[in-house]
């Protein structure tokens, strides 16, 4: 028996040209972007930069025309891995392009697609994910935010939390209860597209432990959402969310979040001979190369239309462990206490990643939840 299958995939010919295009674009637009800023990886929000990516046609490129250019999933992969390896500020469009767009393509109405996809693909309209609530984290099915029928729409009441960049986004795709009660669990949930400028919405940024304002509390007080903004079928929200999370779990963002620290760490050993550093950096490189090929393998399977849910989950689990290992190894190899104001690029990069990385195994599903998903795939549950 084979638990699951991931086989090496070859990149299609011609991707080198695309890769070079992305590299020169990055060099031109972000040539002077500082190293510590790059360490922020896909947490840095820059609407302007996202717009430029849109102009180049690099957002939603796998989507069918007229929204995208029907490029392959592997071509998109090349673009996003280059952005991440460079440390480009991609947060503004990230969620919309990775998750909301594909969700709308799969479950959304023609009207919704016409209305929303062009904005995502041009890097002008930004989305956030409204799943978590104060009392519903891992146990997502227990959410309380509810929508009541009202003529040709819904009235939403409740509260979301930890919503990344809600304060800067245009839309939220929210998971809400449209019928039944909390004890119905997976039944009676639906996804609504909510325009965050609508009346009744209060967005309050929550300062995180690094001092950044990225995630938010979002309150809904009798917010009216028209019927046309219900995604897919009423009551099918849970299945849709599960499909959505699969888009989220296997990409290069799942193992490259700390890559810029790895680069700065390697730079520290330039022209020196240090056995411990050589061994540690060799190991990290082996992990990186392997994860990349695993993630590419999943991208190739996704391309065939299959849903490699378990394989994707495996990549997030391993990828996060790798990302979290990098600051530990850096700390171990270099005897310095990082200063955050006037420290070196290395110090600032370490300081950021050291703190940020504890969230990597929480966002997008905790490690414990992922392992339970894998265990189910192995037939243990």
């Amino acid at each position: 028996m084979q638990a699951f299958n991931l086989d090496l995939c070859d990149l299609p010919p011609g991707v080198d040209v695309l890769r070079e295009e992305v590299r020169s674009f990055l060099f031109e637009t972000l040539g002077s972007y500082s190293k510590p800023n790059r360490a922020r990886s896909w947490s840095a929000f820059d609407a302007d930069f996202s717009g430029r990516l849109g102009d180049r046609g690099w957002l939603g490129m796998t989507w069918p025309e007229p929204y995208g250019s029907s490029r392959s999933a592997l071509e998109r992969y090349i673009v996003i891995e280059e952005l991440l390896a460079f440390g480009a500020p991609v947060a503004a469009h990230w969620i919309g392009e990775r998750q909301s767009g594909p969700l709308l393509l799969r479950f959304g109405s023609d009207k919704q697609q016409e209305k929303l996809l062009p904005g995502i693909a041009s890097g002008k309209s930004f989305f956030c994910i409204g799943m978590s609530e104060p009392n519903s984290g891992s146990d997502l099915a227990s959410i309380n935010t509810h929508a009541k029928r009202d003529n040709d729409g819904w009235v939403v009441n409740g509260q979301k939390i930890w919503t990344t960049y809600a304060q800067k986004c245009h839309y939220m795709i929210a998971l809400v209860r449209t019928s039944g009660s909390v004890k119905d669990r997976h039944d009676g949930l639906s996804q609504l597209i909510i325009n965050l400028r609508d009346p009744g919405i209060t967005i309050s940024p929550i300062r995180n432990m690094i001092g950044d304002k990225e995630f938010n509390e979002v309150k809904f007080d009798n917010v009216f959402v028209s019927d046309s903004m219900l995604v897919g079928e009423e009551g099918n929200g849970w299945q849709q969310v599960i499909a959505e999370l699969a888009f989220e779990r296997s990409g290069p963002d799942r193992f490259l979040s700390a890559y810029r620290l790895m680069v700065e760490l390697i730079r520290m050993f330039h022209k020196t001979e240090d056995k411990h550093a050589e061994v540690a950096i060799g190991r990290l490189t082996a992990h990186l190369v392997t994860l990349r090929q695993m993630s590419l393998a999943v991208a190739a399977v996704l391309e065939t239309g299959e849903q490699p849910t378990i394989e994707a989950t495996v990549i997030k689990d391993l990828g996060v462990a790798f990302e979290q290992l990098i600051p530990e190894i850096a700390h171990d190899l270099i005897n310095v206490a990082p200063n955050i104001l006037h420290g070196s690029d290395y110090e600032k990069s370490l300081a950021y990643i050291q703190q940020a990385c504890v969230s990597f195994s929480l966002r997008g599903g905790t490690t414990e939840i992922l392992r339970s998903v894998i265990a189910r795939g192995l037939g243990l549950r």
């Binding site: 991931l6 090496l8 890769r19 060799g282 392997t290 695993m294 394989e311 192995l378 549950r381």
Partner: protein
């Protein structure tokens, strides 16, 4: 997966599962050469799978032969199939028709010295930890001809053997040659200048390990569903589920890592060599092997610690294989040196240029 890969996977899974069982493994550990098993494997053409067609082989690529080596690791095949495959391929790549029979290799110690006298070559010296040296017909060994590195094919029966075993009881013998005449002396071809036999030996062990790790995973899954404690299968405990999730992830990583190296081995004329990919494979599979062995034993409890139960045939092999032909830290250091010398800003470009 290619059609050839699929066929090889099915063939090897079936063949090895029929041939290998606990009794066979126990006996071979007592140094009984399982000749019928070797015969079957040879008859199925596996030893010559990678040999060029003009030398009577099948000319199958590394990425497809991955399956043979993987399944041989999965079933702990207790004969030097992998050593023979690699040696025969190496000979064939150097335009030498490989002989039939058991060929083992030597590539991880001080090379032998080739001495020229009266227009003929002689070899004297000792080589150690040779897989199945005592049962082999031939040994392909690294040697020096003056200052030039060469490979020699020696008649194993002309050596004095001192038997030894690795942790898993696999034969690892020392062989002493006294003025032996090599059957062939091979100058290294350009394509192999940066890829010594050690690189391929390490690659083969990585693939074997990935098979072994998957075997432990499958074993653990079925055992944890059968074994009951506190009135339910231990598979229902979250602590066990999470250990097996970790193991599954490691198994997948080890497999992909060793496929990466196989794919690179098919492009042997890459001037930069395939050290990078083989290091990746040996490091990653080696790390997973250690973890898989501990999780495997933890999940099995006391029964796994018995001689009777089969788990140890594979866990003990993994401990041996991860240290043979370069441990994780050996390869990590080689790789790390390259990465540091290449420069921090070039790493990404280097990785992506290599597929």
């Amino acid at each position: 997966m290619t059609e050839i890969s699929k066929t090889l996977a099915e063939t090897c899974d079936r063949l090895f599962s029929n041939l290998i069982n606990n009794d066979v493994l126990r006996e071979t550990e007592l140094a009984v050469w399982p000749d019928p098993i070797w015969q079957q494997i040879e008859e199925n053409g596996l030893t010559f799978a990678m040999v060029n067609e003009n030398h009577g082989g099948s000319g199958i690529k590394w990425i497809d032969c991955f399956q043979i080596i993987y399944w041989s690791g999965y079933y702990s095949v207790p004969v030097p199939l992998v050593e023979t495959m690699v040696s025969s391929w190496f000979l064939s790549q150097h335009n030498q028709a490989p002989p039939k029979g058991v060929i083992t290799f030597f590539c991880d110690g001080k090379p032998l010295d080739l001495i020229e006298s009266n227009n003929s070559y002689k070899i004297s010296g000792i080589i150690e930890r040779i897989p199945w040296g005592a049962s082999a017909d031939y040994v392909l060994a690294e040697a020096y001809n003056s200052n030039k590195q060469v490979y020699v094919l020696l008649d194993a029966k002309k050596s004095k053997i001192v038997k030894d075993k690795n942790i898993s009881g696999e034969s690892r013998d020392s062989m002493t040659f006294d003025k032996a005449s090599p059957m062939t002396v091979i100058d290294i071809s350009d394509a192999f200048r940066s890829n010594s036999l050690l690189v391929y030996a390490a690659l083969a062990r990585s693939v074997q390990m990935s098979g072994g790790i998957s075997a432990i995973l499958d074993n653990c899954i079925s055992y944890s569903r059968e074994r009951e404690q506190f009135g339910q299968p231990i598979a229902k405990f979250q602590a066990i589920q999470h250990q097996l999730a970790i193991l599954a992830a490691e198994a997948a990583a080890a497999k992909i890592a060793s496929q990466i190296a196989c794919r690179a081995a098919d492009l042997i004329d890459v001037s930069s060599g395939l050290e990078f990919e083989v290091a990746t494979a040996k490091i990653r599979a080696g790390e997973s092997a250690g973890l898989a062995a501990s999780i495997g034993h933890q999940v099995h409890g006391a029964i796994g610690f018995t001689d009777e139960y089969s788990l140890h045939y594979i866990t003990r092999r993994l401990w041996s294989w991860r240290s043979e032909y370069g441990s994780e830290s050996y390869w990590a250091r080689r790789m790390g040196k390259e990465v540091i010398a290449g420069g921090a800003d070039n790493l990404w470009a280097d990785i992506t240029a290599r597929l």
